[in-house]
């Protein structure tokens, strides 16, 4: 009983400390400094978009649902801000059914409004189609076989944004931002068949899985987790939610390191006593 009580008390102390380490920095986030740095793998994506000529078509695959929104939405927003600022033509799509409604359409429309871009001319949103790998193979041969219409049921061939695009091979840069297996699907099917340069954004949990694909050149760059999103915001000089969230993140990291050290000290002291 005493052991159980002690475990519960310790648990509650940890919960409270973590909660405070999040809430207090959230309230006073403006006073916490954060260095303006970016890693090479994130900068590679920035450089790739920066190198594209005005009007070049790029494709962004939004493959996450609201449960990963906090981590991945800032990435998409950063990418869209950058692309729209460069006057690139952007095609939005998803191979994840849960992203089909709110997530994909919501972010694209929000960013288009912010940057005064027009649907059908500067950007287009594709409806969800099932069978991720099959759809990627299909659009790598003929884009309009996979997507004859956009999500508003306009014929894609008639839209200005699709001028000069026949298949994935005509896309100058594709990037998949995913909370699941969509990046793998894009590497295996999209990249292998479409041969276009591919970048990826993913949750922190998955980031280490994709580093080998950077070494092999299958990925141009990689954004892993909120930290990478904050770095991208720094690169495009538009600090937004990711940057703000990284401040509490720094405090929580320090708190976790402290808790690990304290936990180890208590463990070894207890061992010595026994």
């Amino acid at each position: 009983m005493t052991k159980e009580l002690s475990f519960n008390v310790t648990r509650w102390i940890i919960f409270t400390l973590i909660a405070l380490a999040i809430i207090i920095p959230v309230i006073i986030s403006d006073r916490i400094p954060l260095p303006d740095t970016s890693s090479k793998v994130v900068k590679n994506i920035y450089d790739k978009i920066e190198s594209l000529a005005e009007g070049s078509p790029i494709l962004i695959s939004v493959d996450f649902d609201p449960s990963s929104d906090e981590e991945l939405r800032p990435m998409i927003k950063g990418l869209l801000r950058h692309a729209f600022r460069k006057n690139l033509r952007v095609i939005g799509m998803t191979i994840w059914d849960a992203a089909a409604g709110g997530t994909l359409i919501d972010i694209f429309n929000e960013m288009a409004k912010e940057n005064n871009k027009q649907d059908k001319i500067d950007y287009a949103i594709m409806p969800f189609k099932p069978g991720g790998s099959s759809i990627l193979m299909l659009i790598s041969q003929d884009f309009y076989q996979g997507y004859p219409n956009d999500y508003k049921n306009n014929n894609c061939k008639d839209l200005t944004v699709f001028k000069g695009i026949k298949s994935l091979k005509d896309i100058k840069f594709a990037i998949c931002v995913s909370a699941g297996q969509a990046v793998d699907t894009w590497i295996i099917y999209g990249k292998e068949k479409g041969k276009m340069p591919l970048g990826a954004g993913c949750t922190g949990v998955m980031a280490t899985d994709y580093y080998p694909f950077l070494q092999s050149g299958q990925l141009v760059g990689l954004m892993g987790g909120l930290g990478a999103a904050a770095q991208y915001e720094t690169l495009i000089q538009h600090k937004d939610t990711a940057h703000k969230s990284m401040k509490p993140q720094t405090v929580v990291h320090a708190m976790i390191i402290l808790l690990i050290i304290v936990g180890n000290i208590i463990y070894f002291l207890g061992k010595k006593k026994n």
């Binding site: 959230v26 906090e70 004859p148 295996i188 292998e192 299958q218 509490p248 990291h253």
Partner: protein, 260 residues
Amino acid sequence: MQSVTTTQVIEVWIAVGCTLLIYSFLYKDNPLFKLGEYLYVGLTAGWGLCTAWFMVVWPDLLLPLSRVIKSYFVSNVKLESNDTILLVIPLILGIFMLTRLSAKISWLSRYTFAFIIGSFSGMSIPLMISADLFKQIEPTLKSCWGTDVTIIQAINTLIILIGVIAVLIYFFFSLEHKGVIKSIARTGIFYMMIAFGAAFGYTVMARESLAIGRMTKLVKWASADYYYASIVLFFLVAIIILLWELLRKRESANPDNQAS
């Protein structure tokens, strides 16, 4: 100050309510958490069904098929590029999948599975071997010297090469891990420990990001613009859990209940 519409206020109250229902698990498993959990499962299933119907089954299958069938009877039906009678095949295969609900005719679903497995294997195997195997072997076997290779690149290549060999040997069980093999296998363990550490660090960061995102919104929604949604609902959830605890304690203290 940014004006907030009534719809936004309602949305925020629902969002805060659902967040707190799920977070109530931090106390312990309770009926409010269960309610949140069931709501999530139900909504996800409903969303999936609606997406499948309105974005796939209706526009890509039933609507084109109805146009094709209609065109056989009415002359002025305008067909679109992807409209074909061949859509009957996926329709039949799809219906076969539903036969799993009946034990008598569930064998029909095997045709659909056979089609899916066969076509998917045919499409995937060559591409997977190319993307996941050949293209991954390439950087492992890169040259460590040459005019275009910097010292850092050479060191990186060596680190990768040693890591791949060491980890492969660790998982090679046909030889007893003794002597040189043991040393190499131990190097493999170090590599894996570093990989696990990096993965764990990233995982912690990811979970924190989600908590920070939610907390940021809960703090924002605690303002007067949203009628103090976070504060009001926090206390409401706390009171309900407290009442539930009291009720539970009273029930367990009741001798009739204990006997039963």
